[in-house]
Symmetry: C2
Subunit: 322 residues, 2 copies
């Protein structure tokens, strides 16, 4: 079943409103403007929405965990800001990246500030202190994993060969764990049982990995106007995505791969090649499998409207058009 | 009374040992090597030592708070790694800066990793959960302040004039609050009363500000071999320290100020100028005043050997030779 986008939009709107309240632009003004730049540029707020749904799924009142949802979105945006510096990416969500507008130093500090505020906001969550503390432990452990994942991603660029298992570990760390932490923390703060918390954590981790593979596919298939960043950017940067790992395993390596730049036509040709080699289809099948396993992991939850919504969200993560 | 350096060294050694245990080099190995680089290069461990002493001063067992002390040192090193990127500083503790060895991307990630690990380690502290949670709130708030302070510091470089009050706010945020958090958290985790925790927090904040002013003085007066970084570096970079703010207020502005580089002789001449204008002496008097106020703030503590040690530490912070 397709997700009712209104269900996502309502939650996203709540998170956006709370960001304005919990992260006001204060002195030094430009630091906080830099921190708010990407947050205000939109984004689908899938991670915080997942947190809110996980809370509801274990019988919690999602309003109580809105600050935690904001904390997750701040961590996500912190990683985007720092990643854009490292990847030398100049466009994000259709706007100039933070380092383009405020310089490398400004972007490092804006990211660090969002990181700090995330933990500060989470520490003030209105829930049992032991559960808040567990959530902070989970979030900090998750952040360390994200750094490891990003390090692996950068390391892959300089290597000739990357194995599929390494790629899977990389996306688990870079993307899976933050989705995992979102669902885990939503359930933990709202009093979920050990099984519910663990099941939702697995659900987030696995669907998050599917989300990342789908993201790699979108990078090839979605026009820049919709994507908000260059199409085929991963290709010209030489990113060893699952698609490229499969292609290279089958002797296919487009000439523009890792060349830094290419014409629109060359990118179209490269995508045709990857289509013909079955590499895009291969990645799509992996994403579907991960999402199916993620859905199984919430078999522990009792049936409810929000459980159905979580199942729809899982599908949406690999069917969304951008 | 001069501090018994053995008292500091014993605590520093304990912290160094614990860093090796709590932050092992794991995969991806180079990420953790980059994170450990500055930590392993030494440092006086004044912040974690202050945390251990604060714990003892309220009747706690300092061994229980060693992980929290490590967390503080990790946060400190995280800020050094990122600051060195922003300041384009290539030497720290007598070794190449992290970004020199692992590149900007490596240094951003190494810093982010230390940051994450600091919160992860603190979240596992063996103390009353409510007190651990308060400590995490304090540390995250402190980290946001540090970012604000570093932003102000960078902003000052591009400005013609900086007022003394702005400088004081900057060093409070950039340096004072982390010393403040060290003493505060040591007392909080070890069951200190509200007055003890607040008094120790003030002690740390004020003596930390004195420490920073003294650091600015050392930058001018200590040979590079001892300092572990270029002498007069702040001058050629155009840093608006209290010394320079006083000097400019008295019409003194050495020619090399903000020029990017200078010969050893030019630096010597500039220092003579700042000495003649009374600017160095002015800064020294401010540092002494801050430390005196910091010592007063722990009047709430009952007399003990460790209280005497804290008073000695306060003096040491502005009398140390490097």
């Amino acid at each position: 079943m397709a997700i009712d986008l209104g269900d996502l939009e309502r939650r996203a709107a709540m998170v956006s409103l709370a960001i304005g309240e919990l992260l006001p632009v204060q002195r030094p003004e430009q630091l906080y403007r830099a921190g708010r730049h990407l947050l205000d540029a939109g984004g689908k707020r899938l991670r915080p929405s997942m947190l809110l749904m996980a809370s509801e799924a274990v019988g919690g009142n999602p309003l109580d965990v809105v600050p935690a949802a904001v904390a997750i979105e701040l961590v996500h945006n912190f990683t985007l800001i720092h990643d854009d510096i490292m990847d030398n990416a100049d466009l994000r969500r259709g706007k100039p990246a933070v380092h383009v507008l405020w310089g490398t130093s400004g972007a490092i500090l804006a990211g660090d500030t969002l990181y700090s505020k995330a933990f500060q906001i989470l520490s003030g969550a209105k829930a049992d202190p032991v559960r808040v503390l567990s959530s902070m432990g989970m979030l900090s452990q998750t952040c360390a994993s994200i750094c490891e994942g990003q390090w692996m991603d950068l390391d892959f660029e300089g290597r000739d060969e990357v194995f599929e298992a390494e790629y899977m570990e990389m996306i688990e760390k870079k993307t899976g764990v933050l989705y995992g932490a979102s669902a885990w923390i939503g359930a933990m703060l709202s009093g979920g049982s050990q099984e519910e918390v663990a099941g939702l954590g697995e659900y987030g981790r696995l669907t998050g990995m599917g989300f990342q593979i789908h993201d790699d596919i979108l990078d090839l298939t979605v026009p820049a106007e919709v994507l908000g960043k260059r199409r085929g950017g991963d290709l010209v940067e030489g990113k060893k995505t699952l698609i490229m790992i499969h292609a290279m395993g089958h002797g296919v390596r487009p000439g523009l791969f890792g060349r830094g730049k290419a014409s629109m036509e060359e990118i179209e040709d490269a995508i045709s090649l990857l289509d013909d080699s079955g590499s895009i289809e291969y990645a799509r099948a992996k994403a579907i499998d991960l999402v199916d396993r993620g859905k199984e992991a919430i078999g522990v939850l009792k049936d409810s409207a929000v459980k159905a919504l979580l199942l729809d969200l899982a599908d949406y993560m690999i069917r969304r058009g951008y």
